[in-house]
Amino acid sequence: MRYYSVPERLGVAGLGAAAAAFAYPSIVRVTGFGLPCPLRTLTGVPCPLCGMTTAATSLAAGRPDAALAANPFLYGLAVLVLAGAGLVAVRGLGLTGPPRPWPAAGRRPFSWVVAGLAAASWLYQLHRSDFF
């Protein structure tokens, strides 16, 4: 099996999550079991990814406004997933070479960007839940 880069892995996992977003409302309706946020359930405080399930299922149901209101960062994730999945396809077709690992110095700024986005998402969820 060939080596898959991190963006490719995220792309494939994201496609799986997108497929789950279509099935999720039916699963909840039939079984009665949802996917609660453990942090919110235990402490009442939302986590940075809160609203993501609502946003994904809303988008899958063709309600982009509701998705935007629940968690606007879903759209950024969707772009990343499509880019990652596209990369899988491009590599699968042999149009580009195998992935090369990023040097540690290259990963660090990316980690800061992810941490910044997570912080911004958390602030949005805290605001959405009337914490400020």
């Binding site: 099996m1 898959y4 991190v6 892995r9 995220l10 996992a13 996917l35 946020c37 453990p38 942090l39 235990l42 986590c47 940075p48 990814l49 809160c50």
Partner: protein, 139 residues
Amino acid sequence: MNYASWVQRVGGYLIDGIIAGIPSGLGALIAAATSTDGKFSVGGALIYALLGMVSFGLTIYNRWILGGRTGQSWGRRALNIRMVSEQTGQPIGAGMAFVRDLCHILDSLACYIGWLFPLWDAKRQTFADKIMKTVVVAA
């Protein structure tokens, strides 16, 4: 080191969960089928409880005893992967396998993000793996 992929890990976990869930699922079906007005009958509830204990027993044997002593639960064996100590490369034992599964609570607590960590982590570890210093590798 040849770390197991996230898909393999999820697959192994699902197989373990399905195997352990069969008895309790069967118990739930029996209890539901013998219930009246939405209330379990005594016999149905007893069967449900007994089969629930069978599920728990399967988890103890499969996840902790077998998984801890050999590194391979039934699910991991099916996917040809094993869970070992990062430092020694050897199985961590039943007790530590139990503690590791307890640590999985932390993987869920932070928006389930710990379960996704192997997608991008250099050693493909969950939070529980990092705490217990374990890795899942190709068998």
